[in-house]
């Protein structure tokens, strides 16, 4: 049978604390890495084996994919019980990884220029995308924002793939303000596609701006999830079509702004 999802015992090659509750972890997980695409996510069992609390895996987007090495990187924020346990793991520990899951970002699109908009932890899935788009020969502009400079710990990595614009709400790093305050100039002009991930308010603002300007836009959503494979129907978002609740895990996590009501 043709396989596309795996459950794999991944070995942590490193885990760094980046400050402000943020971690960067690399996991050797060759089956998952081998099939992973930018924008997809992995479902990670964060607690000790056989523990039922926390009960569910945690869906975490893939930050970087290294197919040659058979590893993936995740960049995550401690927000609760699961991620707190994940943050306590060290290099050499094994973790159960399920993936790659979901529909990632649309690649091989006609637009020659890609503008990546990331807010806070929404920066996480965009690095793998920036890398892939640069490989495709696209012009990549990354507009990344956070509340303060501490939230831009991974922004520097985007420089390898194109132009980088940083913004912080407190002005401690880059431009002062929100990403949406500094976005318009970057998406002016034809032949542009916007990819966004971040807080809902940011996604709404980006969707509205791109909608007005007629620029196609994809957004990556998050939701509390149980199965991660479309079986439990728990992680719904709201469709723009009447009477439908798409599933973030399987229909997404990446959607065109025309598909979902944010």
């Amino acid at each position: 049978m043709y396989k596309k999802m795996y459950i794999e015992e991944g070995k942590i090659s490193y885990q760094y604390y980046l400050g402000n509750g943020q971690f960067l972890m690399e996991v050797f997980s060759p089956q998952v890495a081998g099939r992973a695409l930018p924008g997809q996510f992995v479902h990670i069992a964060c607690g000790p084996a056989l523990s039922t609390d926390p009960l569910l895996r945690r869906p975490i987007s893939i930050h970087r994919i290294n197919k040659e090495q058979g590893s993936i990187e995740i960049y995550y924020l401690v927000v609760g019980k699961g991620t707190e346990l994940l943050g306590m793991k060290s290099a050499g520990d094994n973790i159960s990884i399920m993936g790659p899951l979901g529909r990632g970002f649309a690649l091989e699109q006609k637009a020659k220029k890609a503008v990546l908009v990331g807010g806070g932890m929404g920066i996480a899935p965009l690095l793998a995308l920036a890398q892939e788009l640069a490989k495709e020969g696209k012009e990549v502009v990354s507009v990344l924002g956070a509340a303060s400079g501490a939230g831009l710990a991974r922004a520097g990595a985007f420089l390898a793939y194109g132009k980088l614009i940083e913004a912080t709400e407190d002005g401690s790093r880059g431009l002062k303000g929100r990403v949406t305050d500094h976005l318009e100039a970057s998406i002016l002009g034809n032949d542009t596609l916007v990819y966004a991930c971040g807080p809902l308010a940011m996604l709404r603002a980006v969707a509205e701006m791109t909608g007005k300007m007629g620029v196609p836009c994809q957004v990556s959503l998050e939701a509390r999830m149980a199965c991660g494979v479309g079986a439990c129907l728990g992680c719904t978002c709201v469709s723009t079509a009447e009477g439908a609740y798409p599933k973030v895990c399987k229909d997404g996590p990446v959607f065109w702004t025309s598909e979902v009501s944010l």
């Binding site: 049978m1 396989k3 596309k4 999802m5 795996y6 459950i7 069992a45 056989l50 039922t52 609390d53 926390p54 009960l55 569910l56 895996r57 399920m98 939701a223 509390r224 999830m225 149980a226 199965c227 991660g228 494979v229 479309g230 079986a231 439990c232 129907l233 728990g234 992680c235 719904t236 978002c237 709201v238 009477g243 439908a244 609740y245």
Partner: protein, 307 residues
Amino acid sequence: MVNMAVNLGSLYLKNPVTVASGTYGFGLEYKDFYAPDKLGAIFTKGITLHKRIGNPPPRLWETPSGILNSIGLENPGVDVFIRDYLPQIKDLDTAIIPNISGSTVEEYCRVAEKLDGEEGIAALEINISCPNVKEGGMAFGSCPNTASKVVKEVRRVTGLPLIVKLSPNVTDIVSVAKAAEEEGADALSVINTLLGLAIDIRTQRPVLGNIMGGLSGPAVKPVAVRMVWQVSQAVKIPVVGMGGIAGWQDAVEFMLAGAAAVCIGTANFPNPMVALEVLEGIEKYCKINDIDDVGKLTGKAWKEMDR
């Protein structure tokens, strides 16, 4: 060799390990992980006469060793199930058991009628216990009279074995179980989820879009084991035990309490391989304890208890 096959009335299962309705889609979602025909049976996602879009998000909330859900019977409707999904699963070497639901007795009957003529369906599970829909569902399973009525009418329109899924959200589950047995149920599924609620202390509002939801997972296991214990002693028909099974030890416990087969639900989410692990574990347990037929575990705890 341990005989792992069990019979639920006229329904033959090659082994007692099945997956619970609502946790395994229509049997296709997990096929990347293992061949679903290793299972004794697949209870499908709940099916209604017409398409249902389900409840507004959020639908899911994790609780200590459990989850609350308020999916609300989202499904494409029985006709689409028959046209698009059944052909993909009907040839699997496992019992396909659609879980059916309705807002009226008439709707239950029409769904049953439509499925009755279809090839590849082993039995029907009648859901009179969904806590997440306004009409029907749990309303039918909350009292013996309405439960009787649904089972009686569905019994008239189909010769398929009927497994009635009972709600734990009742004062006396035994009376509902007896009512279902009397009207011709071939087996009982015990239990559906327990009605629960969670409030987000930051927003100071209920977390689920539909306010209340059904609690499942290891948190509910002792309640479920108790109900299997009570029901299996009160009726002559077999009981399919479920509620928080997360490993083979839990499954053995349910069988000892009186279950002839077990259903694995919520545990599929964190561990998609759990059903196979449970199957293997039960077989090993039987071998170690010199039990040649898995059916001998059923009710052993009360059958052999000194009173």
